[in-house]
Amino acid sequence: MKKKLLHILLLSAVLINTVGCKKYLDINSDPDTPQQPDVSSVFPAMLAAIPRGTQFDARYVSKYIQNFAQNAANNAWDLHGHQNYPNPSDIGGDIWRQCYYGLGANLNYIIENGKRKGQWDYVGAAYALKAMIFQMCTDEYGEIIYTEAFKENTSLFKYDDQQVVYRGVDSLCRLALNYLSRTDLSPSNSLLIRGDFIYDGSNAKWIKFVNGILAKNFHRVTNKSTYQADSVIYYVDRSFANTQDDFVVPFDATKNDDTNFFGTYRDNLSSFRQTKMIVQLLDGTTLAGSSAGINRDPRMRHMLSASNDTTNGNGGYYALEPGLADPNTGNKRVATPFGDSLYANPSASRFDPSRGKYLFRDKAVSPVMSYSELQFIKAEAAYKKAGGPDATAYQAYLNGINGHFDFINRSVYPRSNVPIYNTVTISAAQRTAYLASANVKQNAAALTLTDIMSQKYIALWGWGFLETWVDMRRYHYTDLDPVTGLPVYRGFITPAAIPATNNGKLATRIRPRFNSEYVWNLDELIRIGGTAVDYHTKEMWFSQP
């Protein structure tokens, strides 16, 4: 009896072990947060994660390219330095963060789980976003982790050369196109429209977006002999057809985290001021030779801020030169980007959708890619292909300018975001007058690279920082146009006080994120020379011949 009892006890113990226990233990799922959400729940967060990268880093890139300058003197970024390196700092590291964490790993989740459940539209869109963010990442930092990214159980990640990443982006785009074109979607699972608040689940628009990424990917190597202008034109033609196709990320503006980083509430641009470069491009000085009223661009009053004092010869659009602070006082000071005659943020930490200007409002979109931008890419590609002025280039140039007018005039945005024009749209008459002005070349033969690149600079001002930076680096900021003998980028001011450690060079890359690479992947960083004091001036692969 007693022995039996013991036997029963032992036997039941073994049984419980193999059968019951595992079931008893199977409770390792968080009851308060899903651990396997549907990809449609993850996708919206990916769209919102894009400006978290682009706008955060724009605070620095925008100064290198002179979209903005600091209202105080000798700002490190204005002077093409790198914020007191080697002091530990994560600034300028947000695209890095988003490439791997904010978007990267999450996109992998969408791809894996989307494939499992036949949600091909999500898979395609996720590949598209992955291609986009890796393109941005390599264009900002150069050599990055690509082939070894997301590897498990290691903390050592090898960097790839930029050309590897470029090829990778190309492959990601092919995958994206492949999945986006599939029509055998699983009907039982949620469709892209559920999570996609930008294109409302339109595969056709996503396909255009992917073609836009490909166009950029192919276009960035204009200095190389292997440059294929035809491919660029091919992809642009399959990309956005008008400004309604633009990829813009909207904001809900109900609390800090869902509000435009560039809006008044979040107060990140209070010390940012418009530069001489953009003011002179818009007031006619650079492109038409004078800022007489007739030459002033009708877009200026929508994009820039006028000061109270309007006696400066261009309607009150004062500007800063990089590194020099504001020499004026009182009404002659440069206004903040938040509106005319405003010298301080009108509603920091307070929601007010009526405040702000252009893209610098709480509930204004953050654009990622535009029709106008792609037309300028086509214009440059055609110009390069023809080796000079060309009809295709000219038409694309005009499309680009018109596209940007349409961009400003657009009145309907996803999630009821507010229009970006200033009170009223630009009238047809204003546009016609501008297109006929000295700012715009009147025939194909007169077209120069400066025309294309300057108009592109205007169209991308205030949002397309990385694209403009790629362009300027391709022309090494100050390259001369062989046709005119003048700099392609007229009006760019080489800062007088470049830090000595730059050895006279302008910045061409941002250092990888400090609290990622300098702390935990240092060996690899040393291998590529990332710890050199002038690493941020090392030329990028894409701009090299």
Binding site: A13, C21, L25, N28, Q36, P44, A45, N153, T154, F251
Partner: protein, 1048 residues
């Protein structure tokens, strides 16, 4: 007193139960001998006084003996106090023996309540008597273990009421996991969580386990209920507890009722407390900069007050204070005398069949910091009964209710602000009659300075309230004389509710126009143990075989809310916040474990072999996505060799009572301490469109159990009839496959990632030397030395990480708990001054001050060289004196408080500011790494160049790392017990005593700060934690207790 005497008859009726004696013929008496644990004592000797009749109990503790009514039975068992029982009319008896008090006791409680003769153990254990703990009168009993246990490191987070305390046995083995031991009360795990602030909703006030303390829940144990505490240190000792016991176990046995007359006892304690150790501040120089008076000049070391222009601490870089100027002793005006009262009532009694004990404790503490306090009420009922001859049942219920009122700590907390409060300003002027804040400087933007300390403690209050109910049921059934089945079921249920408010006019409340946080934590833990023990002796071979099964189901839910933007400025409550600002969060942690265990002990004369194995399954390894095996195995073996039991040895060496050698080897496995880390981890997004995205900490499908291998060997001796005793243990512990969440390259796809890997080695030695130098009728002196030394080293890093740091410990400046391959487990890394290739300090050619090197380099190790506790108890006639001195040699402490004072001009180290100096070093002028660097000749007079102090380059964190030794007089108790003859007139009083206890009376240390034994974080911190980082934490106050104890 006289009144009491008059009603003594009534009291007699109340308290006395008089047995009736009947004398008669010899008869067979059957009885059971139990331990005070209510477990049977096999092999106990029962004899009839005055005869040579003697028997021993069987495996179930049962005996049968012939005795006449009125005869006296003498029951004895090694390691227990002898007891006598008069035979009455009953023929069945239950005799409960009390474990004898010697701290080198003969029988110890091991895992799952398995009682083992100490000589059969292959590892070292230590027992601390409950009375010693209770006598310290400390609210948090963990603190009373300091110095009493070789190998235990106890770090309270500060000296305020309700502060948490961290305990680590034998050094930290896990660089990113939990290193605290398992607490077990009467066979049931006792939850010792400290609320993790990161589970609450932050907002304009951030939560990183720095600015508030939530207590450690083991402090809910009423010290007066503790019979004794067994410390199981190495993995072998706790192998049966598995992952939970991998960092050791604190096994608490509570007091049980004794059969016999009902007795009532009452004791109390009244304590005053006083803070007596402060960081010294200079009062020679006043406000200003570069020697020029300027009350509005501020410094903002490391941007502690943010980036706004003018934000900072008013700096004391001004001229000398004028003679006769009114100054204020702000510390004196801020602190108050703490006062605590404690009352304990115990009632116990019972019959042969059943016993009970009821105890209640009330504690009310007013802290030395205004508006802080701690109040606790505990009630415990324990009953034990016998059903038939074979079944015994013990149940207990325990209720605890406690409330902690607390103040903030760390940056912006009251202490740092108090220290930097100018002596020319009265700290008591903190608010206007209308309740608005008076800033120190005449500023309107209150964001620019920290709160007045009194403002802080009154206007930014925090509160925690705990209601805890624990209960357990212990069944023991004797199937036969050699087979016992046991079952233990326990429930541990509590809710902890707390609030934290930041006034809209406070520095940290300004951004959000007030901040209010509230949370409710509910913890419900169930556990069950079933075990069968077979004990049988075959000739000289004794066999004991235990198999068992254990399950636990632990559930903790934290629900928190926060709101900002108060409508009513001075009203604290969530309903007073803007609904749009409110956020809520739920965090649930559910963990289940199952464990099969077996233990076989074979004894042959003088050798004991023990083999144990466990198979454990943990829910934290389960996955819904991949196929994971939640089970893993581990085991142990040990050998004990008692040389003095070899026939002939005792005769040859009569002075040698015990000589024992022992060796053990054990492995343990540890599952992840956090649930839900195997599968994907998502968090809800509040960005446009909402949804979910990966948590910053990445999951890992591939995690495997942490492993540790432990080798321990040692020896025990007892000489001269136990007058001199020694226990030596050496151990070598290797912990592999550490499971930790570490920052790494974002290439992982995450900011932080769960990794497996790395090896930490801990080597150490523990010696306990105890002696009774004097023992006469009237005078007895017992003394114990507890020595330990542990060296923990990180052999390899997990996943080849170049470094790992704990960001919670990064509280001030750039110093943090950080590891590199080969680093010591207590490693601190910080910025240092930059040096050239020859190691000379680099000096800036423009300022003449050193250049800061922003790399993190090792600057110290917080592990002490050794610790030594010296416990004494002296009895002289009716007086008992006990005291406990705790020595520590070595171990680094970062005096961040002093660094803070230095950077702001309040440190006494800045008093020589008028002396010009040239800092030894070479100029960073481009020639620094050549053969002929330029020697620095730039003279600096700090008085006129305050950046010498405030620039954070002339002195770096490294300069404030101190190697600390201390001797602390921890607890002193003097007790006078009234002699029986005095009390004989007062019949209802059995015994009475009065006592004085002093706590933390004195510390002799080379530490320049207030108290080196503090923690910058709370006890919830993982890894080595914030111990040894002193930043704005209050020193442990000195306490004087008076009280009396009466037993009726």
């Amino acid at each position: 007193m006289r009144k009491l005497l008059q009603c003594k008859d009534k009291l007699l009726l109340l308290f006395f139960w008089l047995p009736v004696f009947v004398f008669g013929q010899d008869k067979a008496i059957t009885g059971t001998v139990l331990s005070d644990e209510n477990t049977p004592l096999p092999g106990a000797t029962v004899s009839v006084r005055g005869t040579n009749r003697s028997v021993t109990t069987n495996a179930s503790g049962v005996f049968t003996i012939n005795a006449a009514s009125g005869a006296v039975l003498v029951v004895s068992y090694i390691g227990y106090e002898q007891q006598t029982v008069r035979v009455g009319t009953a023929t069945t008896l239950t005799i409960t023996l009390r474990a004898s008090k010697s701290s080198l006791g003969e029988v110890v409680v091991t895992a799952y309540g398995i009682r083992r003769e100490k000589k059969s153990l292959g590892y070292s254990t230590q027992v601390v008597d409950g009375e010693d703990i209770a006598n310290t009168r400390r609210e948090n009993f963990v603190n009373s273990l300091a110095g009493r246990v070789a190998g235990a490191t106890i770090t309270p987070s500060s000296g305020v009421p309700g502060a948490s305390s961290q305990i680590v046995l034998r050094g930290a083995t896990s660089i990113g996991g939990n290193n605290q031991p398992l607490f077990v009360v009467d066979g049931v795990p006792y939850d010792n969580q400290t609320l993790n602030q990161e589970n609450l909703v932050g907002g304009s006030v951030s939560f990183a386990n720095r600015n508030s303390d939530y207590g450690n829940r083991a402090m809910d144990i009423n010290p007066d209920d503790i019979e004794n505490v067994t410390i199981l240190k190495g993995p072998e000792a706790t192998a049966l507890y598995g992952a939970d016991g991998a960092s050791g176990a604190i096994v608490i046995t509570t007091k049980k009722g004794k059969s016999g007359k009902a007795s009532v006892s009452y004791d109390n304690s009244f304590r005053t407390e006083r803070v007596y150790r402060f960081p010294e501040v200079q009062t020679v120089y006043g406000l200003g900069n570069n020697g020029i008076y300027d009350p509005n000049f501020t410094t903002n070391p490391f941007g502690v007050l943010g980036g706004s222009t003018g934000a900072g601490i008013p700096a004391a870089f001004g001229p000398k204070l004028a003679q006769g100027i009114t100054t204020f002793n702000n510390a004196e005006n801020f602190f108050r005398n703490g006062f605590t009262q404690q009352h304990n009532i115990n009632v116990e009694g019972g019959s042969d069949v059943a016993t009970y004990r009821f105890s209640t404790n009330y504690t009310n503490q007013n802290g030395v910091v205004p508006n802080t306090g701690f109040e606790r009420l505990t009630a415990r009922l324990m009953g034990s009964t016998k059903i038939g001859n074979k079944l015994r049942l013990t149940t207990s219920m325990n209720y605890v209710s406690s409330t902690t009122k607390k103040a903030s700590k760390g940056a912006g907390g009251y202490l740092l602000t108090l220290l930097t409060w100018p002596v020319t300003s009265d700290v008591r002027n903190f608010q206007r009659p209308d309740g608005s804040k008076i800033p120190l400087r005449n500023i309107t933007n209150l964001n620019l300075e920290y709160d007045n300390p009194l403002w802080d403690v009154y206007k930014n209050p925090g509160m925690d309230k705990v209601d805890r109910l624990t209960g357990n049921l212990n069944l023991s059934y004797d199937v036969t004389s050699w087979l016992n089945l046991g079952a233990v079921t326990g429930i541990d249920y509590y809710t902890q509710y707390g609030t934290l408010a930041v006034h809209p006019l406070s520095r940290f409340g300004l951004a959000g126009n007030g901040f209010y946080s509230l949370y409710q934590q509910t913890t419900r833990n169930f556990s069950n143990t079933l075990k069968a023990t077979a004990t049988k002796k075959f000739g000289d071979f004794s066999n004991s075989f235990t198999v068992g099964f254990y399950t636990e189901n632990n559930y903790t839910k934290v629900e928190s809310q926060k709101g900002e933007r108060f409508y009513e400025r001075d009203f604290l409550g969530i309903n007073n916040t803007d609904p749009l600002s409110r956020d809520a969060r739920t965090a649930i942690a559910q963990v289940r474990k199952v464990r099969f265990f077996g233990n076989y002990i074979l004894g042959y004369k003088f050798v004991y072999l023990s083999l144990a194995g466990s198979r454990e399954g943990s829910s934290t390894f389960m996955s819904k996505i991949v196929d994971k095996d939640p089970f893993f195995n581990y085991g142990s073996s040990s050998l004990s060799f008692v040389a003095t039991d070899i026939p002939g040895v005792k005769e040859a060496l009569p002075w040698l009572n015990l000589a024992k050698g022992r060796i053990s080897y054990a492995t343990t496995g540890k599952s992840p301490s956090s649930p839900y880390i195997i599968d994907y981890r998502f968090t809800g997004q509040i960005t446009t469109g909402g949804g979910f995205a990966y948590d910053v900490t990445g999951n890992n499908f591939d995690l495997v159990p942490e492993r540790s291998n432990n080798l321990e060997y040692g020896a025990e001796f007892s000489l001269f009839k136990g007058r001199l005793r020694m226990d030596i243990a050496r151990y070598h512990l290797l912990s592999k496959n550490q499971i930790l969440a570490a920052r790494a390259s974002y290439g992982t796809g995450f900011v932080i990632k769960w990794f497996n890997g790395g090896e930490v080695e801990n080597k150490g030695i523990e010696v306990q030397l105890a002696g009774t130098p004097v023992e006469t009728k009237n005078f007895r002196w017992e003394t114990i030395f507890n020595f330990d030394r542990n060296v923990g080293t990180v052999k390899t890093m997990p996943a080849s990480l170049p470094t790992y740091y704990d960001s919670d410990t990064w509280v001030f400046g750039n110093l943090r708990s950080q590891y590199f391959p080969g680093a010591k487990i207590g490693n601190m890394a910080a910025n240092t001054v930059a040096r050239n290739s020859a190691g000379q300090v680099l000096i800036s050619p423009t300022t003449g001050l050193p250049v800061r090197d922003n790399d993190f380099k090792t600057v110290g190790d917080r592990q002490p060289d050794f610790k030594l506790g010296w416990v004494n108890s002296i009895r002289y006639k009716q007086f008992d004196l006990s005291f406990n001195i705790d020595f520590r040699k070595g171990g680094d402490v970062f005096n961040a408080t002093e660094y803070f004072l230095y950077l702001t001009g309040y440190s006494v180290k800045t008093l020589d500011r008028e002396t010009p100096r040239v800092i030894e070093g070479v100029l960073q002028d481009g020639f620094e790494n050549t053969a002929n660097p330029t020697k620095n000749t730039i003279a600096v007079t700090p008085m006129y160049n305050s950046s010498f102090y405030s620039s954070t380059t002339a002195a770096t964190e490294e300069d404030f790392v101190e190697n600390v030794n201390w001797a602390r007089l921890r607890d002193v108790t003097i007790r006078y017990t009234f002699p029986a003859r005095i009390l004989s007139d007062v019949k209802f009083i059995k015994s009475a005593s009065i006592y004085f206890t002093g706590t933390d009376l004195l510390m002799i240390t080379n530490y320049s700060g207030a108290d080196p034994a503090v923690n910058a974080n709370t006890a919830s911190n993982r890894g080595f934690g914030g111990a040894g980082i002193d930043y704005g934490a209050l020193s442990i106050p000195r306490g004087f207790n008076f009280g009396c104890a009466i037993k009726f």
